[in-house]
């Protein structure tokens, strides 16, 4: 087996790291960057560029430069929220087999796992170049509230990149691991993960190297991109007002404004006002310049709704875990959006303490993934210390290049235990358009639970079990997961046939469903087809 790395596959940026006996080492990109943009550029000659190079070509080739693929991975393209997300994208997306989104690049159709696979292959190449050894295995992090289809699609992306995905690790759990591993302290931490495209908040109890998730909640479609978009909308309105040009129908102009918006956001994290000019706005053959001024209070006003939502979800998760605010011993910030001063202020107000900033919020998830990768591959040892050190750019200086370090072999393997939870209620449809939960939200995984159902009609020989995910009593208001058919039941009076429905969530958070006829003992197994999941060989 080659080396096992930890990968934070983010919406906007990705980070790859490896646990070494002396600390966690980050793999750098070609320009020495620790944070790799999750951007894939498809070139006219058929080649592919990834990372910083791809990000740089985004303005010139908006239709063939794919970013934020994570927002689409494993999604059912018909979902209203996905349709909404598509309206802001400069590249074309259409519906493929199994209702999965396909990205159209100059007539060619590319699956979303393929795009993410290119990102992962790039990260793998960066790590191999730096470490001078083959990288074969990976722990990849995903948002805690990722669905089954999203998890399977992420695994598929890993497979396409030639990586054995040892584990999909939930991002907040990874962050808590990076924060608490080797600290030997009992803590109850709140991991507040406000990234580029998603928001997650989780509460964890850390006790003697056991990391137990108590509750988790989040919002798929809430992130730094929304803050950028709010600023871009502000700039678009300014452009319309000052220059009498409406940039909104023009993907190229909006991309330029979005890039400026991100820079303004970052500037306003330090300064109280941002003032300047957006240049290079190409309109009808002319290059326009847009002067602007945005103060921090104005920005706060633009993004207040998004930040309110994160605080509301944080309160919800405290309620779900039956915890008071005072029980939280530490608040761990993850994701670049936690640098926004309004976010920090609201968090400090809620918890009555400043959030912990010991670990860089852009790197904390990859660091946790690297620790878990080391643990699962048996390469992590006690007493090694997990302080991050600067990446060593040459293979010759990497301790891994010389094989195992002798003292590390004698030490006991360090095995932090991660106890995760189900991110949403998993349920089945029942008579009258209602539904019954099989597995509730926030249950420890891996978990299995069986419930017994019965037939609704006399002489019924076939039952159709519709599975869904969500918190609503009416089945149709939940996200459909797929359908399971149990055939050849003995014809009996209604209520006389007992059907056991078993939901099992494995260590990756992937759902397995089974239906069985309990009375005849004949086990009628069936598999679930998950909508939005990648189909092998599609496109």
């Amino acid at each position: 087996m080659g080396l096992a790395v930890g990968i934070d596959l983010g919406t906007t940026n990705s980070v790859v790291a490896i646990a070494t006996p002396t600390g966690v080492e980050f793999a750098l990109g070609p320009a020495g960057e620790r944070v790799h943009p999750s951007v894939v550029g498809f070139q006219p000659d058929g080649s592919v560029v990834v990372g910083l190079d791809a990000k740089h070509q985004r303005v010139d080739f908006p239709a063939t430069t794919i970013y934020s693929a994570k927002r689409l991975i494993g999604q059912n393209v018909r979902t209203p929220l996905v349709q909404l997300a598509l309206t802001g994208l400069p590249y074309a997306v259409e519906e493929g087999p199994n209702q999965q989104p396909l990205i159209v690049i100059e007539g060619r159709r590319v699956t979303v796992p393929e795009v993410s696979g290119h990102v992962l292959a790039h990260l793998k190449a960066c790590a191999q170049r730096q470490l001078g050894q083959a990288v074969t295995d990976a722990v990849i992090t995903v948002p805690a509230n990722f669905t089954d289809a999203q998890r399977q699609a992420t695994k598929e992306a890993g497979r396409l990149a030639g990586l054995e995905v040892m584990r999909l690790l939930n991002e907040p759990t990874a962050a808590a691991l990076a924060y608490g591993f080797g600290q030997h302290k009992d803590e109850t931490v709140c991991v507040f993960d406000f990234g580029g495209g998603t928001f997650d908040v989780s509460l964890l109890a850390i006790k003697d190297e056991v990391f137990e998730v108590l509750a988790t909640d989040g919002d798929f479609f809430l992130g730094g991109d929304d803050i950028d978009r709010a600023i871009a909308e502000f700039l678009a309105a300014e452009m319309n007002r000052q220059l009498r040009v409406d940039p909104r129908p023009d993907a190229g102009l909006m991309t330029r404004l979005a890039i400026a918006a991100e820079e303004i956001k970052i500037h306003l994290s330090e300064a109280t006002a941002a003032e300047g000019t957006v240049d290079g706005l190409l309109h009808r053959g002319r290059s326009l310049s847009l002067p602007f001024r945005l103060t921090r209070p104005q920005l706060d006003e633009l993004i207040r709704g998004y930040v309110d939502r994160t605080i509301e979800l944080t309160r919800n998760v405290l309620t779900a875990a039956h915890l008071e605010v005072g029980a939280i011993t530490e608040v761990v910030c993850v994701g670049g959006s936690t640098r926004v001063p309004l976010v920090r202020r609201r968090l400090a107000e809620l918890f009555g303490r400043e959030p912990a900033l010991r670990i860089n919020p852009d790197e904390v998830v990859a660091q946790g993934a690297a620790i878990q990768a080391g643990s699962l591959s048996g390469a992590l040892y006690r007493g090694g210390g997990m302080a991050t050190r600067d990446a060593v750019p040459t293979a010759a200086l990497s301790p891994l290049a010389h094989g195992d370090v002798p003292w590390a072999k004698a030490a006991a393997p360090a095995r932090p235990i991660l106890l995760d939870v189900t991110p949403a209620t998993l349920r089945i449809a029942t008579a009258g358009g209602y539904s019954e939960p099989i597995l509730d939200k926030n249950l420890p995984t891996p978990i299995e639970r069986t419930r017994v159902f019965t037939t609704a009609h006399d002489q019924q020989t076939r039952v159709v079990i519709e599975c869904g995910r969500g918190e609503r009593k009416r089945f149709a208001e939940n996200e459909p997961l797929g359908t399971l058919v149990l055939d050849e039941l003995p014809p009996r009076r209604r209520g006389e046939v007992k059907i056991e429905v078993t939901f099992r969530v494995d260590t990756d958070g992937i759902l397995h469903v089974r239906a069985r006829d309990a009375d005849t003992g004949a086990s009628c197994d069936a598999d679930l087809t998950i909508l939005g999941a990648p189909t092998r060989g599609a496109a």
């Binding site: 040892m166 584990r167 109890a205 006790k207 003697d208 190297e209 056991v210 137990e212 039956h322 643990s375 699962l376 591959s377 048996g378 095995r415 235990i417 991660l418 106890l419 509730d440 249950l443 420890p444 995984t445 891996p446 978990i447 299995e448 639970r449 099992r504 969530v505 494995d506 260590t507």
Partner: protein, 221 residues
């Protein structure tokens, strides 16, 4: 510390045949009288020793899959018991249904009585109970003949010290786990808990002479 793969396999062999009949408390290796505060600790103890992640490299895929399935049942039990409301709902559900065979024997009923709250006398604490049990080879009295004893696993679960008679041979693994807990309680001077655990162990393995001897000695002291 994590168990050895052999210990895990012995545990799987033990629990799989009657996985459907086990109570939530049995999955968590707790007495039905366990305090709510003990639930999390019991789950963590199982996680520390038997979480599937610990055996990813050490067990073949098929056995790892068995472990995930059994561990998933432990999680299911924990999910129901970890909150006071959930535990109350579970107890209501169980008492409404016919109680499972394993918990209807009289020692278990005895064990459900509230434990005495008086601190244990120092003399009891000094003297570990199961030092002079009848030899394991002694056949049990006819009346107490257990229903089909399982063979003890070849590898005992961890913890515990040296004994003249190996408790691992004198009782089934389920009882042994409780017996070990009784030993632990005695070491901290908590005789009430020790008695409770021995009674639970007898419920799990009514035929073990060692356990009956231990109980007699503990209650005499």
């Amino acid at each position: 510390m994590a168990w050895t793969p052999a210990q895990v396999l012995a545990w799987l062999d033990e629990v799989e045949p009657r996985a459907d009949g086990r109570s939530h408390f049995e999955w968590l290796e707790l007495a039905p009288t366990a305090a709510p505060q003990a639930i999390q600790g019991a789950y963590h103890a199982i996680a520390r020793t038997r979480h599937p992640d610990l055996f990813r490299a050490a067990l073949p895929a098929a056995d790892l899959d068995r472990l995930v399935r059994i561990y998933a049942r432990v999680s299911g039990a924990y999910a129901d018991l970890r909150t006071a409301d959930g535990a109350a709902a579970y107890l209501r559900r169980v008492s409404a249904a016919a109680p499972p065979a394993a918990t209807t024997s009289s020692p278990a009923t005895a064990a459900r009585r509230p434990a005495p709250t008086t601190p244990p006398p120092a003399t009891a604490a000094r003297r570990p109970a199961p030092t002079t049990p009848p030899p394991a080879a002694t056949p049990p009295p006819a009346a107490a003949t257990p229903p089909a004893r399982r063979a003890a696993p070849t590898t005992p679960p961890p913890a515990g010290g040296a004994h003249e008679v190996d408790p691992a041979r004198a009782m089934n693994p389920r009882a042994l786990a409780l017996y070990r807990r009784a030993e632990g309680a005695l070491r901290t001077g908590d005789r009430a808990t020790a008695i409770l655990n021995i009674k639970m162990a007898i419920a799990a393995d009514p035929g073990s002479q060692l356990l009956r001897g231990a109980l007699a000695e503990l209650t005499r002291a």
